[in-house]
């Protein structure tokens, strides 16, 4: 009966200046699951991530990570250290650092000020960075300045930086934005390959991409700050409510 939830969001509310961004939101994620979240603009997808990662505090409700780690009240870096990684919608990498350095700074390890004053890279970390470079297909550009990468490559680099942290839970905001079809497809394959080892929540607009990565898994539709429905891709697509608020209007 008892399911191994990696993320439990229950009865969460958040109001910004009278605007109800999140209203009575319930969301459960199984360990190792890959869940796609869709919803029209303003449905509260970004706020949802903000709440989980500590950027904003909910007015009420419960947000738990793993068995019983309460995330409410913790700040961004504390939540990250627990094992929650977040990829932003617009790729945010360290533009003046090389690809290699971007990954190195993201590797799991001590994060304190004084630790970093004298820290040196270990051979194991080098190997790990090489592996990551292979996963995100940037071996050839390891010494490039990250700011000089193409948009899609930056997206990958950021995913690589997330993986370097080795988080249990990955929150990925529109990873395919600005990518070519081919890149989008490869990003999908990458995310699918990560599921199982990591638990992943992907927010996405591109329905072809959603279909690719959702496979037989569940899809969550957000609307006006709460869950409109959950289910398989086909079921969701056929749902008249969903068609009304989202698919019918957007596509």
């Amino acid at each position: 009966m008892k399911t191994d939830w990696i993320l439990t969001v229950e009865g969460v509310n958040k109001t910004f200046d009278g605007f109800k961004a999140i209203s009575d939101l319930n969301f459960y994620l199984k360990r190792g699951e890959l869940r796609v979240v869709i919803g029209p603009n303003g449905a509260g997808k970004s706020t949802f991530f903000d709440l989980i990662t500590g950027r904003t505090k909910p007015d009420s409700g419960k947000i738990e990570f793993g068995k019983d780690t309460d995330l409410i009240g913790l700040n961004e870096y504390q939540i990250n250290r627990l094992g929650v990684g977040r990829k932003f919608q617009t790729p945010s990498v360290y533009t003046d650092h090389t690809v290699w350095e971007n990954l190195q700074l993201s590797l799991k390890g001590p994060r304190g000020v004084f630790a970093t004053l004298f820290q040196r890279i270990t051979p194991a970390q080098r190997t790990r960075i090489d592996e990551l470079l292979e996963v995100i297909r940037l071996q050839a550009k390891r010494d490039w300045r990250a700011g000089a990468l193409a948009h899609g490559e930056k997206q990958w680099l950021e995913i690589g930086m997330l993986l370097a942290q080795d988080p249990e839970l990955l929150l990925v905001d529109e990873p395919a934005a600005g990518m070519t079809d081919d890149e989008t497809h490869r990003t999908g394959e990458l995310l699918i390959s990560l599921a199982g080892k990591h638990s992943i929540v992907v927010v996405e607009h591109d329905m072809t991409f959603v279909k690719q990565i959702a496979r037989d898994g569940e899809l969550t539709v957000l609307h006006q700050g709460s869950v409109l429905c959950e289910g398989r891709f086909d079921a969701v697509q056929a749902n008249p409510k969903v068609r009304e608020v989202y698919l019918g209007r957007g596509k």
């Binding site: 870096y77 650092h97 350095e101 820290q119 490039w144 000089a148 950021e158």
Partner: protein
Amino acid sequence: MQRTVLLSRGQWMVFGGITVTLGVVLPLLNVLLVPGHPLQVSDFTLNLYGKYLTLAVLALGVDLLWGYTGLLSLGQALFFSLGGYAMGMHLMLMIGKRGQYKSDLPDFMVFLGYPGLPAHWQPFYSFWFALAATLLVPAGVALLFGFFAFRSRIKGVYFSILTQALTYAAALLFFRNDFTFGGNNGLTDFKTVLGHELNDPGTRRTLYVLSVALLGGVFLLGRALTRSRFGQIQRAIRDSENRVLFSGYATAHYKLFIFALCAMITGLGGALYVCQVGIINPSEMMPDKSLEAIVWVAVGGRGTLVGPIVGALSVNALKSWATRAYPDLWLIVMGGLFILVVLFLPGGVVSVPGRVSAWWRRRQARRTAAGVAVAEKPVPAPGEKSAESASTP
């Protein structure tokens, strides 16, 4: 990916050469040659250079914050002045009975009718206490201010405005006679430091050499810091603070650390400045002093360690000349210089050699492409070019 070295062999030679020239050759030219000899460095010149060097320390403090961390502090002169005041208090007490009023109390206290030495002045009889205070008072103020500013996530222009307000508020406070630091006259008429007469050329020479040493030391410290993992995170905060925060780094702690460290560095510079200039008053805390330091860094080249030094020395040399030759025009010249650099030379003076050689390479590449049909050397792609300049640890 070899081990990080502080400086390469060539860089050590340049560093050593400049340090020896400034720290040994110039003082020797001062002491060995008779005044009037074409190569003689006068006492006045040496003292002036010493002052510039301490200002270069201030510039490094500004740049480690602005150029490397993205924190534009418009109040760095406050920490410089606090260091200066801490040392000034000691020097004030060392005047002893040689002041105008032949009293153990500093002159301004006699003049203002103080019954005795205020308690917080007592420990400054000790040179070492005063020296510690030149480090710890600026650090304390920076920690306190930084704690609240960074905790409240005050960033960008708001941080700049607040630091400017802070230094202005401090200046107003120090202008008051009842604040026990000499009001608008500040602290002056110093006689001795550690028993040495301050107007003795030998003492001045020593202070000058100490300034060279301090600047060299701060440069090496900055070099070590910016090449460490900490330095990488510093620049990452500058370029994408959110990414750093969401990667598990407490960015506020990093900013607080560098803010306090720079305050200490700057405070030491201020202490040596006051020893050589012989006066410290609240006008040194006025916002325009901090803004001048921003101009030095911008002109020299922010985000580099050589740039602020070049900028501080050259702009101040220009200032010394211009304020004598065209006293009314100096502010316009400085403002114009700043605008020119921002518009046409964002990398500052130190970026000129790189720009020239890049231009030369492009020219050569064009010629090769145009003249001979065989393309010998393709123009490097943007990524490759930056890979050369990027510091790979």
